[in-house]
């Protein structure tokens, strides 16, 4: 057995002293506990590895199934305008355009609103309301995409067609962004629906990083005679900005991959149009609409390639966002002191 001075030395040399000592002692455990322990460890390790394996498997399947299209079109796939299943000619440009424009529009609307909500909840809201409002904002995230779509078709789109679009056309029609026939359904509707869906993502991260800013930062700025807004701006938002950017990027990731609600309201026409009233198409919605109807191998492969592109983009976007958020909240594993 280990001697007492040796134990003390071990205890000092490690952060979690007790655990180490226990490990030392537990080596003398009978096989009847060591074998189940090892067995348990292996099972747990396997389930952890499964997470990693799933991501690898998804990537592999996507790459493998899109080989045909990758070889046929190469890089031209991403700037070709032609989407013509009959002649086996595929270019994803209109979908990429639609995804980028609708996501950008969504962020444009969602970012100020989410930061406003987060500021309200963390800095202004009475204590009692705080839990209720953050619960309600979280509830927005719990509503399924398909219900947003349903609401978009039957409530939002008529509202846009009757009131919002005529108003926008009259006041801002000269910009070219708000012109043309008003269907209600289209890029604008998709942007608005997606903005509503992205708000809880950005707001919850923003709230988290704002809460992570130490209280004495606020007190210091207030003590210098700042107004509340100046305190929020200089003491809180400035310190939390990297995390907020991370939250915005995370929201972008959500927006890029959003499928059902967008498919239901965007109008599904593969066109590149400057006007936000015009129908569009996104990468996710073309997959949703055409995947089961894709007859030829090349057609299917082209759709999988769009999926692969979506996968890679959201992978990068999410990785970036997580790294940014982690720099604020203190690492992937928040170890309890």
């Amino acid at each position: 057995m280990t001697s007492i001075p040796k134990l003390a030395q071990v205890a000092q040399s490690h952060k979690s002293a007790a655990t180490t000592v226990l490990q030392k002692i537990r080596t003398s455990y009978p096989a009847s506990s060591r074998i189940p322990d090892a067995f348990f460890g292996v099972i747990i390790l396997l389930s952890a590895i499964s997470v990693f394996a799933i991501v690898v498997l998804v990537a592999y399947e996507l790459v493998e199934k899109s080989q045909l299209s990758l070889h046929q079109f190469g890089i031209k796939f991403f700037y070709g305008h032609d989407w013509d299943p009959v002649n086996d000619s595929f270019g994803a440009m209109p979908f990429i355009y639609g995804t980028l424009v609708s996501s950008f529009l969504a962020l444009l609307l969602a970012v100020p609103a989410s930061i406003g909500v987060a500021v309200f909840i963390t800095e202004m809201c009475p204590q009692r309301l705080r839990a209720i409002i953050s619960f309600l904002v979280e509830l927005l995230a719990a509503i399924p995409s398909v219900i947003y779509g349903l609401w978009g078709i039957f409530v939002l789109a008529p509202l846009l067609r009757e009131y919002v679009q005529p108003f926008l056309a009259k006041t801002l029609g000269w910009t070219g962004f708000f012109s043309g026939p008003m269907y209600g359904l289209g890029m604008l509707a998709a942007g608005i629906i997606m903005a509503i869906m992205v708000v809880p993502v950005i707001a919850s991260i923003t709230r988290e990083v704002m809460t992570a800013v130490p209280q004495n930062q606020r007190e210091a700025v207030l003590a210098l005679g700042a107004t509340r807004w100046e305190m929020i701006r200089m003491g809180v938002l400035r310190n939390a900005r990297i995390g907020i950017v991370g939250g915005i990027i995370l929201g972008l990731g959500r927006a890029l991959g959003e499928t059902m609600a967008v498919t239901m309201v965007i109008g599904n026409r593969p066109e590149v149009s400057k006007s936000l009233f015009a129908p569009g198409y996104t990468m996710a919605s073309v997959i949703a609409n055409e995947f089961t109807e894709a007859t030829g191998d090349l057609y299917l492969s082209a759709l999988v390639e769009i999926g692969l592109a979506l996968f890679i983009v959201t992978l990068i976007v999410n990785a970036l966002a997580r790294l940014l958020v982690w720099t604020i909240t203190g690492g992937a594993a928040r170890v309890r002191a």
Binding site: A18, I49, P112, W151, N318
Partner: protein
């Protein structure tokens, strides 16, 4: 400074209110009009942002109830869909189908999710753990439609037909990262002394983890599981080319199956008025299922042992 001016008033009552008053008065006189305006402007902006965000939430729930409640009746809950154009029929098969798919998803998602969570909390305080943690977050961000494609090519192509099983696999995979991170976070909240006490009694690690740490954290872990469950319950995109949908009864795992979310989608984009009504009714049932799960979790955790932890 105006500070000494405060003492000019003789009455003690005035004096009591005097110090804070004079401080705020002097402060507000020093604060320029512009700074005061921006301060009020920012407050107004934040308040209106909060109101603006909550409006769609209320609107969606109000419309769901108004438009949905009229079509939820015994026919809707017990019958299968009628052919296109005919009125009547219901979504009974879709409700059961959703249950079937979610059962498969839970069988896959719960053990793998909780298992990875245990790994991350109890074994994974190292570089490999960080890798798994990072992968889980990445997996969480993978668009659901992409997950649908992957499961399609992994299972549907091999099986040569759509099935409830493949739909369940797609949703189960999507549950894993949420559950894993929730389990990890909750296990980390269990004080180390409890583990040490168990080791001290000679209880092996596996038993300590399962019967003591996990049990202590159970309220939080259940919360995580229910949230993951609620999240995938409404998923539609990954089911489009896995479970596929079905107008008839199906209780077999290897056959195409209807799901509430799929049915809502199909009915919403259809041209029939009666189907639109049923889409609202289906959506209402779906949201009740999800909100019910989330609310149940709130109640359990607010009374549970990890109060405030979730």
């Amino acid at each position: 400074m105006r500070w000494p001016g405060c003492w000019s008033g003789p009455s003690p009552a005035a004096l009591r209110g005097c110090v804070p008053n004079s401080v705020t008065a002097s402060a507000s006189q020093e604060v320029s009009l512009w700074r005061r305006l921006t301060d009020h402007g920012a407050t107004a902006f934040a308040v209106s942002a909060a109101v603006l965000v909550l409006i769609p939430l209320l609107a969606i729930f109000i419309y769901l109830v108004i438009k949905g409640i009229g079509s939820v009746n015994i026919t809707f809950l017990t019958q299968t869909p009628k052919p296109p154009g005919e009125t009547g029929g219901g979504m009974a098969n879709a409700i059961v189908g959703t249950g079937l798919i979610l059962a498969v998803a839970s069988v896959i998602g719960l053990p793998l999710g909780i298992g990875s969570g245990i790994y991350l909390a109890e074994y994974g305080r190292n570089r490999f753990g960080d890798l798994i943690r990072f992968t889980a977050d990445v997996l969480n961000g993978v668009p659901s439609i992409v997950m649908g494609i992957a499961v399609y090519s992994l299972i549907v192509i091999r099986q040569k037909h759509f099935s409830a099983f493949s739909g369940g696999v797609a949703l189960g995979i999507m549950m894993i990262p949420t559950i894993a991170r929730a389990t990890e976070e909750m296990l980390l909240m269990v004080p180390n002394v409890i583990r040490e006490a168990a080791y001290g009694l000679g209880i092996p690690k596996w038993r300590t983890t399962l019967s003591i740490s996990l049990r202590t954290a159970s309220a939080g872990v259940i919360t995580g599981c229910m949230l993951a469950f609620a999240r995938v319950a409404g998923e539609t995109a990954p089911l489009l080319f896995t479970a596929f949908g079905n107008q008839f009864w199906n209780l077999k795992l290897n056959q195409p199956t209807a799901a509430l979310s799929l049915q809502v989608f199909t009915y919403a984009i259809s041209p029939y008025d009666d189907w639109h009504k049923q889409a609202w009714a289906g959506a209402l049932i779906l949201i009740l299922l999800i909100v019910g799960a989330v609310a149940a979790v709130r109640i359990v955790t607010s009374r549970g042992m990890l109060k405030g932890g979730a």
